[in-house]
C-alpha cells in the first residue's frame, strides 16, 4: 500500500484525558504524523506531552477522541503490543537499554521465537538479521559489541532500530512505515552526542516517521518538519517549519504562553550589590558539558545562568554543588581554591547550599517535616552541654517554617511523601531559611508546582537575598530570572555567549 506524501499516516483527533476526575491533563488535542517526517511535540513540564504519548502507546486510555491510521478509524491501543500493530512504538528517555546484552541480543529481545530451530536459538541467523537491519538504518556498530561498550548516542540509535523492528515484526510486513516516538532522547547526551544522534535520525527518516517530544527549542527548530505546541493540556499552536518563518522566540512564547511584558524588569527592586566576592569561577571546564566559564558572585547577589536545556547550565550548578566534578579551571569559594572532586558535604561546610525542584532529590520522603528541616540545622536543636536532640526545639523550628512559608500540612509531624508537590518544595527550601548558607544554589526551584506556591518560594528567595545570601539560579522559566537575578549569563553549547543586566534580559525576552 502506498500512502501519498501529504496524507496523514497517523491522526489523533480531539483527545481528552482527565485524571481522578479532576486534573485535566489533555483537552481536545489533535495531532497528525505524515509519511517520513519528524513531528515535534513541545511544551513545558506538565503540559500534557507525556500523557498524549502514553495514550498513543496504550499505557493510558483516553476519555474521548479518535485515532486514524492510514485514513481508517481504529480503536486506541490497549497495550504497547497493540500500539505496535498500529505502527507506533516508543523510545523512552532512559532505562531502555540493557547494558549487559550484546547488540544483536538486545535488538531482537522478545522476538527470539522467530529464530528457534529444534528448540535452540540460531545465533548466526540472529546476528545476520541484526546486521542487515542496522546497516539498512545506518547505525554504525558491531552486533557483537556489548551495549555498554557503545557511546550513549549509538545506544539510543540501537533502541530506535529496535522500536522500528518491533513494529515490523508485529505487523509481519517489512515495508511498513513505523511511527517512532522519541521521548526527550537527548536528555542524557553531551553536546557532541546530540549532534551525532540527530544526523543519524535524519538518515533514518526515509525508513520511519518520528514524533519528537522535547522542550529544547533549538533542537526542535533544527530537526523537525512540523511542530505541535501543548500548553496546560491544550494544543495552542501548529507550525509548519518548512513553510512558515518561525523564530526561536515565537516558539518560546507559544510554549510558555506569557505576555512579554512579564519579562520587563521592575527597577524599584534594583539594589546595590556588595563589593565582597564570595565565589569566583574561573575558566571552569568539563569536556562535553561546558567550557571556560568565568564569573564572580558577590555577597547578596543573584546570578542567573540562562540557556536552552542541554546548554550546560545544569551541569555548572551541579558542579558548584559538588554533585559532579570539573576537569579544568578553578573554583574559589570565599578565597579558597577547592578540589575538583570534592563531595557535596564539604561544599556545604564551605557555606554552599543546594536546592533543587526535582522531587525526592534532597528530601527524605519517609521523614516528617520536622526532621527534614532539622537535618541541616542540627547545631540548633542539640542541647548543651550534652549534645542530645531537643524534640521541642525541633518542633518549634519546623512550626516557624511551616507558618512562614504557608506550608499546607495537617501537622509538622506529617511524613513528607504525603504532601503536595508545592509543599514538598517549600519544606526543601524552608530548611535553608534556618541554616542561612553564604551561597544558595537554586536549580529549577519551582518546577511542576502551582502558581501560589511559586509566589511563596520567590518571596522567600528574595527575602534571603536581602539578608545577604548570594544565589545562583538555573531554571527553564525566564520569568524567574527577571524576578530574582541581578545579572544573567546567557549560555549556549556550554559557552557563555553574553552577560545581560535584568533590564537587557527583559528587553531581549520582550523583543
Amino acid at each position: 500500500m502506498v500512502t501519498p506524501m501529504d496524507a496523514s499516516l497517523l491522526e489523533v483527533k480531539g483527545v481528552s484525558k482527565t485524571f481522578d476526575g479532576v486534573v485535566r491533563a489533555l483537552d481536545d488535542v489533535s495531532i497528525a504524523v505524515r509519511q517520513n517526517e519528524i513531528v515535534g511535540v513541545v511544551g513545558e513540564n506538565g503540559a500534557g506531552k507525556s500523557t498524549l504519548m502514553k495514550i498513543l502507546v496504550g499505557v493510558y486510555s483516553p476519555d474521548k477522541g479518535e485515532l486514524y491510521y492510514r485514513g481508517g478509524k481504529v480503536p486506541f491501543p490497549k497495550n504497547p503490543k497493540e500500539a505496535a500493530e498500529r505502527g507506533i512504538s516508543i523510545v523512552y528517555q532512559e532505562k531502555g537499554v540493557i547494558p549487559s546484552l550484546e547488540v544483536y541480543q538486545f535488538l531482537l529481545l522478545g522476538h527470539e521465537d522467530k529464530y528457534v530451530k529444534f528448540s535452540r536459538l540460531q545465533i548466526d541467523k540472529m546476528k545476520k538479521h541484526a546486521r542487515e537491519i542496522l546497516e539498512e538504518l545506518h547505525v554504525k556498530c558491531d552486533v557483537e559489541n556489548f551495549m555498554y561498550e557503545l557511546p550513549l548516542s549509538t545506544q539510543k540509535m540501537v533502541e530506535i532500530a529496535r522500536a522500528i523492528l518491533s513494529v515490523r515484526l508485529e505487523h509481519g510486513d517489512e515495508d511498513i512505515t513505523s511511527i517512532i516516538i522519541l521521548d526527550e532522547p537527548t536528555a542524557p547526551l553531551t553536546i557532541e552526542g546530540r549532534r551525532e544522534l540527530f544526523s543519524d535520525i535524519l538518515d533514518m527518516k526515509k525508513n520511519a516517521s518520528f514524533i519528537f517530544v522535547s522542550h529544547i527549542i533549538p533542537e526542535v527548530m533544527e530537526f523537525t518538519d512540523r511542530v505541535h505546541v501543548l500548553r496546560d493540556g491544550k494544543l495552542v499552536a501548529n507550525y509548519d517549519l518548512s513553510k512558515e518563518k518561525i523564530t526561536e522566540e515565537d516558539l518560546f512564547r507559544a510554549i510558555v504562553g506569557r505576555e512579554s511584558s512579564e519579562y520587563i524588569y521592575k527597577p524599584e527592586d534594583k539594589r546595590v550589590v556588595s563589593e565582597e566576592v564570595v565565589l569566583t569561577v574561573k575558566n571552569l571546564t568539563k569536556n562535553g558539558c561546558y567550557y571556560d566559564i568565568s564569573f564572580d558572585l558577590h555577597k547578596g547577589e543573584c546570578i542567573g545562568i540562562f540557556g536552552p536545556a542541554g546548554s550546560g547550565k545544569s551541569e555548572i550548578i551541579k558542579t558548584i554543588a559538588g554533585l559532579i566534578s570539573f576537569e579544568g579551571g578553578n573554583l574559589i569559594i570565599r578565597g579558597q581554591k577547592v578540589k575538583a572532586d570534592e563531595l557535596p558535604h564539604f561544599r556545604l561546610g564551605r557555606g554552599i547550599g543546594y536546592f533543587s525542584g526535582e522531587i525526592g532529590k534532597e528530601l527524605f520522603l519517609n521523614w516528617p517535616i520536622t526532621k527534614n528541616i532539622s537535618i541541616v540545622n542540627m547545631e540548633k536543636i542539640l542541647r548543651k552541654p550534652i549534645p542530645v536532640i531537643s524534640f521541642n526545639t525541633e518542633r518549634k523550628m519546623a512550626e516557624r517554617i511551616v507558618k512562614r512559608l504557608r506550608i499546607r500540612a495537617p501537622s509538622v509531624n506529617t511524613d513528607c511523601y504525603s504532601l503536595s508537590g508545592g509543599s514538598k518544595q517549600k519544606v526543601s527550601v524552608g530548611k535553608w531559611l534556618e541554616r542561612n548558607p553564604d551561597i544558595l544554589l537554586l536549580e529549577d526551584p519551582t518546577i511542576g508546582i502551582d502558581v501560589g506556591a511559586r509566589e511563596d518560594i520567590y518571596e522567600t528567595a528574595l527575602e534571603m537575598k536581602k539578608s545577604g545570601i548570594s544565589m545562583v539560579l538555573v531554571s527553564d522559566d525566564p520569568k524567574e530570572y527577571s524576578m530574582l537575578c541581578d545579572k544573567i549569563m546567557f549560555i549556549k553549547d556550554g559557552r557563555i555567549q553574553k552577560v545581560l543586566s535584568p533590564e537587557e534580559f527583559g528587553e531581549v525576552m520582550a523583543a
Partner: protein
C-alpha cells in the same frame, strides 16, 4: 472528671501505636493463643523466664546489625565475633585474667571498623563482605580452638541469679538496649544514619559525610555486638562453639525484619528490633511447648517470617514505619 479527660488522650495514643506497630497485635495474639491452647505449660514462671532468656539472646545479637540495616546495608559478622572472640578469650585467660572479657568489645570494634572501611573504599556489597568475614572468623576460631569448644568458667557470676525467676542477663541487657535506642533517636549520629538510609544523595547535600558515617555505622554495630557478647558469652553457656550454625545467624536477622526495620534502610531501628525479638521469642517458645517436632517448629516460624516480610514490604494501609 480528670480521669475521663486523661482517657480521651490515652485512647488515640494506643490506636496510633498499634497502627505504627502492627506487630504488637501479633504478639498479643500469640500470647492469647498459647495461653488458651496450652495454659498449663505456657502460663508458668519457668516459661516466662525461658522467653526472656531467648529474648536476650536475639536482642543482644540483633542490636548492632540493626544500626547497619538502618543505613541500608547488612552486617552478618556477629556470629563470627562471638566464635572468634570466645576462643581468643580462652587463649587470653591465663595471661590477662578477668580482663580478657574485654576482647569482645575490642574485637567487635576492630571488626566493624575493618568492614566499614573496606565497604566504603572498595564498594563491595556488605552482605557478601560480612558473610566472607563470618566464615573466615569461624574457620579461624575452629583452628585456634583445635576443633573442640573450650569452656571458660570465670564469668559465671555474670548470669548468677539476682532476682528469682528473672534472668540476670535480661537485667544486663536493659542498659545496652537503652543506649542503642537513645543513640539512634536522640543524637546527631542516629539522625545522620537514618538520613543515609533514607536518601543517600540527599544526605550528602544536607552536609553529611556519607562515607564517614557509613564506617561509623559498621563500627558501632561491631561495638554493640561486642558489648552484648560480654553478657551473651556466659548466657549461652560459657564457651564459644567451633561449629557455625545457621540458626544463630538467622534468628537475630529475623528479629530485625520482623520488628519492621526494612532492609532498604531509612526507618525502623533498635526499638523495633526488641519488639521483633520478643515476638519471635514468644512464638518460638510457644511452638516448642506444643511438643511439635523441631522441624515443624522451624517450618511454622519460617512461614511466620514470610508473612511478616510480605506485610512489612507492601505496607499495611495507614502504617508508617518509624
Amino acid at each position: 472528671m480528670k480521669i475521663l479527660g486523661r482517657n480521651k488522650l490515652i485512647t488515640p495514643v494506643i490506636i496510633q501505636t498499634l497502627k505504627t506497630h502492627p506487630l504488637i497485635i501479633a504478639l498479643i495474639a500469640f500470647v492469647v493463643m498459647f495461653s488458651v491452647l496450652i495454659p498449663a505449660r505456657f502460663l508458668t514462671p519457668l516459661n516466662f523466664s525461658s522467653i526472656l532468656r531467648l529474648f536476650v539472646t536475639y536482642t543482644l545479637f540483633a542490636l548492632g546489625p540493626t544500626i547497619v540495616v538502618v543505613i541500608g546495608s547488612l552486617d552478618l559478622s556477629y556470629v563470627g565475633i562471638w566464635m572468634l572472640g570466645g576462643v581468643l578469650l580462652w587463649l587470653l585467660m591465663p595471661i590477662l585474667g578477668m580482663l580478657s572479657i574485654l576482647v569482645y568489645p575490642l574485637l567487635g570494634l576492630a571488626t566493624g571498623l575493618l568492614i566499614g572501611v573496606i565497604q566504603v573504599k572498595a564498594k563491595i556489597p556488605s552482605f557478601i563482605l560480612t558473610l566472607s568475614l563470618l566464615v573466615t572468623f569461624a574457620g579461624l576460631a575452629a583452628w585456634l580452638a583445635g576443633g573442640v569448644p573450650r569452656p571458660v568458667r570465670e564469668y559465671e557470676f555474670i548470669t548468677a541469679p539476682l532476682i528469682p525467676r528473672l534472668p540476670t542477663a535480661f537485667l544486663w541487657s536493659i542498659p545496652i538496649i537503652i543506649a542503642a535506642v537513645f543513640m539512634m533517636k536522640r543524637t546527631r549520629i542516629g539522625t545522620y544514619l537514618y538520613a543515609i538510609g533514607s536518601n543517600e544523595e540527599g544526605a550528602g547535600l544536607a552536609g553529611i559525610n556519607v562515607d564517614k558515617y557509613k564506617i561509623l555505622a559498621f563500627t558501632l554495630s561491631g561495638l554493640f555486638t561486642g558489648i552484648g557478647l560480654i553478657v551473651l558469652f556466659q548466657h549461652l553457656g560459657g564457651s564459644a562453639p567451633v561449629e557455625l550454625k545457621l540458626g544463630n545467624l538467622v534468628w537475630p536477622l529475623a528479629a530485625i525484619v520482623l520488628g519492621g526495620t526494612p532492609l532498604v534502610g531509612g526507618s525502623g531501628g533498635p526499638q523495633r528490633t526488641i519488639l521483633g525479638a520478643l515476638t519471635l521469642a514468644v512464638a518460638t517458645q510457644g511452638l516448642y511447648l506444643m511438643i511439635l517436632l523441631p522441624e515443624v517448629v522451624a517450618l511454622l516460624l519460617g512461614l511466620l517470617l514470610v508473612a511478616a516480610i510480605v506485610i512489612g514490604t507492601r505496607g499495611l494501609k495507614g502504617v508508617t514505619i518509624t
